[in-house]
Symmetry: C2
């Protein structure tokens, strides 16, 4: 048997990189490290990922797919909770996807993946409002759960969390506190 050719190196690299990402964070994730973990030479990944950034882009794309799947399995307010749960379950992945570490402008695929993952949120508002209003409300909802995820990950809600009786309770209370104005009201 020849071990010279690996068979499916891109997938193997992505897998090893994913494990490193979750275990050691983005800082500890190097191309060479991923290559080592996959059992190939330090330059093998370059045949499939032209630079480190493109490997990160691959990991992020996986992440958006995972997130989209998680959101498609529920609806309404449960989607918000699912969003936060995803962020807390895969913190480094989430930060890679949204932390600005990689320039999303350069990877249109990523923006599209994000839009796809986000689509269910927009749809959930569509029945109750005009398209324009639905979009605004959806943006607000996304912003809320997105910011909540980030701030929880950063530990800024440690105290609020314990006072609310746990993170899950806090998330529920926060989501319950917010209402979206879908009519034509105008705030003072």
């Amino acid at each position: 048997m020849s071990t010279y050719h690996h068979g499916n190196l891109p997938k193997a690299i992505l897998a090893s990189a994913g494990k490193i990402l979750e275990k050691e964070g983005l800082t500890g994730l190097s191309l060479r490290h991923a290559a080592r973990r996959a059992g190939v030479s330090h330059n093998a990944p370059y045949r499939h990922f032209p630079h480190r950034e493109s490997l990160l882009a691959g990991l992020a794309a996986q992440g958006f797919a995972m997130l989209g799947e998680a959101l498609n399995n529920c609806s309404g307010k449960a989607m918000g909770a699912a969003y936060v749960r995803f962020a807390l379950r895969y913190p480094e992945r989430f930060r890679l996807m949204f932390g600005g570490s990689l320039p999303i402008e350069k990877y249109p695929v990523l923006r599209e993946a994000a839009q796809r993952a986000f689509q269910p949120v927009v749809d959930s508002f569509r029945p109750h409002a005009s398209p324009q209003q639905a979009q605004i409300a959806a943006a607000a909802a996304w912003s809320l759960v997105h910011g909540l995820s980030h701030l929880l990950l950063d530990g800024h809600f440690k105290q609020a969390s314990s006072e609310a009786g746990g993170t899950e309770q806090l998330v529920r209370q926060v989501l319950d506190t917010v209402r979206y104005v879908l009519g034509a009201q105008r705030s003072a």
Copy 2:
């Protein structure tokens, strides 16, 4: 004249690092680069910052002070807009402060600075609700503007922005769309 001792190297390093941060982003910010820009040898910063991370922490601390100042100059809904404006004006600084690049747990000063910057938000809800409810509502408000900032920076609201007639309009509309339930209502 002796150029051997600099006079106020910590400040100079922070300044040069800040400029590099804004111009080239976090990735392009290295200790050696900052040292070069400050006109000192590659190891001079180590007398004042034990490692790169501590330099980043210093920059983040500055950022929290700036943010706190920006928030203290306004009240109510204008604070939300000011928060987003800060993020858009200093994107890399904002991402450094909240992007998970540096482990905030290790720098209690940073968390306290964040709490201080956040305090006005809590206070603005205090008159209208119980302490517990004020905290939840404040957490929601912070989450909303925080997530909105991140998603705007990531470019995920490009389309929504242009449809709303500009980023500022979008921000205003999003903030106007959200209501915080301060009573004892229970959502379905």
